[in-house]
Amino acid sequence: MTSSWFQDPTLLAAMLGALLPFVSFVLIMVFTRPYPKLSATISVAAVSVSVICALFLLGRHWHLEHPIQYTTKWLVSGELYVPFGFMLDQLSLLMLTIVAVISFLVQVYSLGYMAGDPGFSRYYAFQSLFAWAMMTMSIAPTMLQFYIFWELVGLASYLLIGFYYEKFSASEAGKKAFVMTRVGDIAFFLGILLVLLNFGNLNILDMNSVDVTARMSPALITLCAILIFGGVAGKSAQFPLLTWLPDAMEGPTPVSALLHSATMVAAGVYMFARIFPFFSKSATAMTLFLAIGMITMLLASTMAMVTRDIKQVWAYSTISQLGFMVMGLAAGSYFAGVFHLTTHAGFKALLFLCSGVFIHAYETNDMYEIGRQGGRGLKIPMVCMTLGAAALSGLPPFSGFFSKEAIMGGLAGLHNPIWLWGGLLGAFLTAYYSFRLIFLILFPSKIKEPHHGEHGGHGHGDDHHHAGLYWVMAWPLIILATVTLVLGLFQTPLENFLVGHYGGAEGHGGGHHAWLLYVAVGLALSGVGLAWLEFGRKGASQVGFVERMEPVKTLFAERWYIDHFYRLFLDYVIYGIFSNLFTRNDRQVIDGGIDGICRATVGGGRMLSFLQSGMLQYNLMVMFAVLALVALYFFF
């Protein structure tokens, strides 16, 4: 901490990596907005440096013994000291790498996807803002800094979701995302305030140490944990704040890939892992989180079974996988949760980017339509997407298989078997809806000739141009697909890397039960099989079993009416009652009161001026009467 920043390569790398995207954001917003190419170059260059720095840090500190911390004064007020700095440990290094790599890939991919968009510069500015906020958040040393950048991440998400702001639905979705996560963030903020006031310190390492139990009562810890979890629920779209995420798909597809699948929504889970020891001090809270995770996972899976929108499927699956991660963490298997976070980041980004290619080519989000127009003609995305779906379903040997198994193992270690059954059901449903989508595109009921030239393009590029962009978009897919394939094999090194630190917290993460393995894979395969029966085989009706039951389908498609509830709540309680009531109060009671006073004054003046009526006789009468009375009073 005493060494100056340029002498310490670690600090230098962390600073460069985390802060360069911000510089790029400012540069683009202030200077290069009219020059899209230059803006993109700046942004991609900045994020490339970030990737290099992140990989450098990861490599340099692969055998990290103690977390490294650098802080400097950001703000001092009275006894409150707010530092700004970096804290590097295994978890934050891993997250930093994930964020940097995925940001990089998405930015490269966007060069193709967003080409010719009028808001190209703006897009890259927001991407840089996001990268800065997310990376600084990942390596935050205190919960306050974490919160600050957490909010900034939310801001970037708001801006990117509402990127096509001319579309009402897009701006609406951005607003919804911001406000809904804000609700969670308020709980988060209250939670860290409670910790700050009772524990006196927000340093993450201190919060994770055993000191907490000494200074805070168990009930207080539970309360704080639940409040802070509110932030997780908001950001990671857990029940009951889950409905913003499907809407967030209004943003450009790379944004969905980056923020709403791989990185930002994982921030919630990351925070869970970040202060995992703190959370795990409250068994009550952990059980609650387990329940929330499971409910989220199952709800989202059911929603995914009936939607026709390709991005929506992945959005729901994201929610359900996030719920699954929360379950894993809440079950106490720290490594399993983080590992799934890592693998999920890879394959979900892959899935979204693949869908992006389809959407870009066919200008539709409807999977039936894509299939009908010959979606399987796009070879690379199709193969990559199938790989991703397999990973999502937990089929060996893809990365998802390993991480899911790890979580299942954690769930199996719990006393109450209901969690495990819930998890298994979720796995089955996941496999079913993933392959429903794959089969629908692979084996459409009526195949036309593939003709992506006709429909492709946003009306801006010719075929040749389009082909070039296609490859810009394809490369990230291939890289991600490779990652998906091989990441599972790195389970053991990663586990050593991560759990070396939190050794104590890891009780049963590795304890695989053999039967569980078979059951899980069997369920996943049967999910795939069911999907094949209904959608894949020749002459299949392509109507799912859920879709045959009209009321259930409606329920699922309407997202269990959660949104309706919020809408009604907003319309009737917030707007209808509070807003309206207060406005009326303002207009009528307060303003009316004051105006009333004013009017009374004016009226009083009028009344008095009535005395000044020009009726001389009355005036005189009063005068003499008063004179008489005064005289009588004084003389007697």
Partner: protein, 102 residues
């Protein structure tokens, strides 16, 4: 007949009648007449004090003379005002003359 208070009471009565007249008449001329009554009440007072109390019995008479002069001037002006008001308002009803109303 020879006591001061008799005259004073008489003066007070005249004065009060004058006040009453001023208040209750609606016609400006009626009010003018009532004012003359009041002035006479005052004159009687002067004369009575002059007769019974004053060291120099000329002064009260002079005051009374002055009152008469003032009354004459007042009557002249009042009448002209009444005429003017009548021209303007078409009435000498005092209750119509409300242009000073607030």
């Amino acid at each position: 007949m020879n006591s001061l208070t008799t005259y004073l009471f008489l003066a007070a009565l005249l004065f009060s009648l004058g006040i009453f007249g001023v208040f209750q008449r609606r016609s400006l001329i009626g009010m003018l007449i009532a004012i003359e009554l009041m002035l006479n009440g005052a004159s009687i007072n002067f004369m009575a004090f002059n007769r019974f109390l004053a060291p120099d019995p000329i002064v009260g008479q002079i005051y009374t003379l002055f009152i008469m002069g003032i009354a004459a001037a007042e009557a002249a002006i009042a009448l002209s005002i009444i005429v003017a008001v009548f021209r303007r308002l078409g009435s000498i009803n005092i209750e119509r003359a409300q242009e000073l109303r607030g």
